[in-house]
Symmetry: C2
Subunit: 160 residues, 2 copies
Amino acid sequence: MQDNINNKTVQHPHNHQGCMQHALQAAEQICGAKGMRLTAIRKRILELICASHKAIGAYELLDLFKLEDPKAKPVTIYRALDFLMEAGLAHKIESLNAFIGCLQAETPHKSAILICDNCKNAYEIDATAVYESLFTLSDSMQFKPQCLTLELHGLCVSCS
Amino acid sequence: MQDNINNKTVQHPHNHQGCMQHALQAAEQICGAKGMRLTAIRKRILELICASHKAIGAYELLDLFKLEDPKAKPVTIYRALDFLMEAGLAHKIESLNAFIGCLQAETPHKSAILICDNCKNAYEIDATAVYESLFTLSDSMQFKPQCLTLELHGLCVSCS
DNA sequence: GCTAAAGTGTAATATTATAACATTCCATTT
DNA sequence: AAATGGAATGTTATAATATTACACTTTAGC
């Protein structure tokens, strides 16, 4: 078992190999169900994103991807990222201009992202209650919510 | 009275002249109290930001500022923005890479930003309840919160 | 196999933001 | 008033992030 891969870098030590495999399988399933094409490039970019729980920048991804395809250009990465986000398989962290894989892509979710400013890991957590609270507020202002950016920076349990 | 300036562009029609004056006066007070220097450049940039309730990009600010000082460079704007944000007089909207003036700078606040994707106005609202809800959640994960990005896109009452 | 749409290749460029170092301004001390 | 030290600004260059435009290729459905 590869139980200990990366176990120092995430809040909850886990089988990261399994975690990635799950994300990738879910991606195949989701794309299949929606008639979206998880092409080789897109799949590989998703793998690279999911390789750690740290948010990764587009140009970092490009550098990694170039190891396999030296002619790759920024637009290759941005296209793949656009697709993955469209499919709900990845999220952009606006406050970092960086990206993370979505680990709950198969179920609809209302999530917040907790970002450890020390170890740089980002955790997507269910924040349904927070959404309720915010929607109550926006309703009272007759504001029709469409898309929420909810990113909490701080220190994870391992780093504090 | 100038009651109608911009009244088509904000959710709650208001005396924008007074709104700006208030923000500028508060800025003077706050900086005075904190021993921070609201220099001519910084004050002018704040005025330009507060001239509307639409989020404004750094390079848009630069274009406006250049009308008065054609030799101005990007770093001039970014320095002023850094100062204004440090002083709590302006906020960056991460999901837009743009900036708004803070209308409650004189009182500590836990706010969310509602952004109308149609008219582009951005409203900072008190979201204490939302913060409570989120902090409960982050506490349960032993995450120490430090800085929250909370930006809700959608349609304001005038646009929906 | 043909076709239309989606995906990819390639080059160029737009947009956003910062680094590095010189100079000026300004409050304080002398 | 002159000296001084730190903050602010000027200036140049460049880094980092993201998109446009157009040509070519692949793929799914007919």
